[in-house]
Assembly symmetry: C3
Homo-oligomer: 196 residues x 3
């Protein structure tokens, strides 16, 4: 049973904030914990290859490369040493101009071999409001209905992941102003799942 | 094409009652039929190993054991002899403190190799009422919204199961006071699917 | 990365019309494109075997044959030569008396190895109206709720497909009277995905 835990969340649920808070809480409580951002590992691998992928104009070769790098990232993360819990910060799906991409397709999932899949969720109303307030990213899906639909896609993908990996799904709610509480919930689930 | 049929349903749909009624109907009509409860087979295997798993405080070893026993149960059930239809009474998912567990993850599904997946469903309102009336089990999810959400998770998981196993999904409704009718519907579907 | 693209849609979304329009648009613009109807390939294979399958009274042998022919069709389509994009016209699921069948179960999906899954969708109200107006086919599910439920099943199945194949999902809307626009959207997505 793997000590790897996937943490996923759609844009606007506050995943980044909760994971930062998780690092703080773990440090305060002296609990060893490693958090790896899947996208960052991919970007590092692209850099090493001296390549960049233009998300908006991906050609077939780009897509092949992207798939290859995605698997390579999963393999590297899977090999991460140590005995502490390994949290993989990623997505159940990513919306690009090329469509709704599964964040952890079968081959990636097999490399990661997660023991738990945690979905960070929030009320669709909160998500829509946060998306509209966020000026750092241009986001297409800003209505409450779009937020609700994204939450649903995330659960569909998570179900396929759970059946393939034989891993359970946990849902952590992140209501406005309660990221500390969400981080503590997250830590409790992670500890429970990775206890020897 | 397998003669094994998975019958699943979330707590409160009345699965146990319908399956008891199914046994009665099959006996009355002299139709050979074998019903196996997946959880019971797992419990027997745990007993043989002289182990019990404390659901509320599962450690990593417990989880590994649990996964192993789950696969072993599937293998034993898969080997069940005879030519009659084999009904496996199980769940698309189980809610525990460790999360939403897939009842038939890929490895279990491959052993069972079902020819049909039947979901017993009921109106969310009926489910919520039945859950509140049931004093034998402590259940956390007793609102109509929770029942609706559980029905949805069940369909998500069933879809992943169907795509993996190449098997169709049938839905049998169990409205209040009509368990006899539900059992007859169930028997008709089972017979149709296992006819030589 | 495959140049095969799955196009799926539930009855009433206007898939057939949009795909006919797609052929027109591609011809006008001199864009090479091959569209294969999965069901037709299966029917041809049945004919060659001198067999027909009675959908309403399928026995176990019929089901075994059906599964075999389905895989054979996928294999043949997968071998289709040429460098142009290959569009496979099929379903995420088919409702028969035997249940909700996955249109592209794992084995079929592995043969097709799609690089993109496109779902043609429409408003549930439009779908229900079109289903009621269509006298050529007897359809059971004619309410708005049934249309909504079918759209959802389609997305559940598509999610399992996407995770298994590592392919993205695109959604093309087909509102009343805009099939030309839908076909142009479809062509743009196909070209983008199959560009060298």
């Amino acid at each position: 049973m793997s000590r790897t835990i996937i943490v996923a969340g759609i844009p606007g649920v506050g995943k980044t904030t909760v994971l930062q808070e998780l690092e703080n809480v773990a440090r305060e409580k002296n609990i060893p914990l490693k958090i790896v951002n899947f996208g960052n590992v991919m970007n590092e691998l692209f850099k090493k290859r001296g390549k960049t992928v233009h998300r908006d104009h991906m050609r077939r070769q780009d897509l092949e490369l992207q798939a290859k790098v995605q698997e390579q990232a999963a393999r590297e993360i899977g090999k991460t040493g140590g005995k502490s819990a390994l949290v993989v910060d990623t997505h159940m799906f990513v919306r690009t101009k090329d469509g709704i991409w599964p964040g952890t397709p079968r081959r990636v999932l097999e490399e990661l071999d997660p023991g738990l899949i945690i979905l960070i969720e929030a009320d669709p109303e909160d998500i829509a409001r946060r998306r509209n307030a966020d000026r750092t990213r241009e986001r297409d899906s800003k209505t409450v209905d779009e937020a609700r639909s994204d939450l649903e896609w995330s659960r569909y993908m998570a179900s396929a992941n759970a059946v393939l990996a034989g891993a359970p799904i946990q849902i952590v709610l992140n209501p406005d102003g309660h990221q500390r509480r969400a981080a503590e919930d997250l830590l409790a689930l992670i500890r429970k799942r990775t206890l020897q």
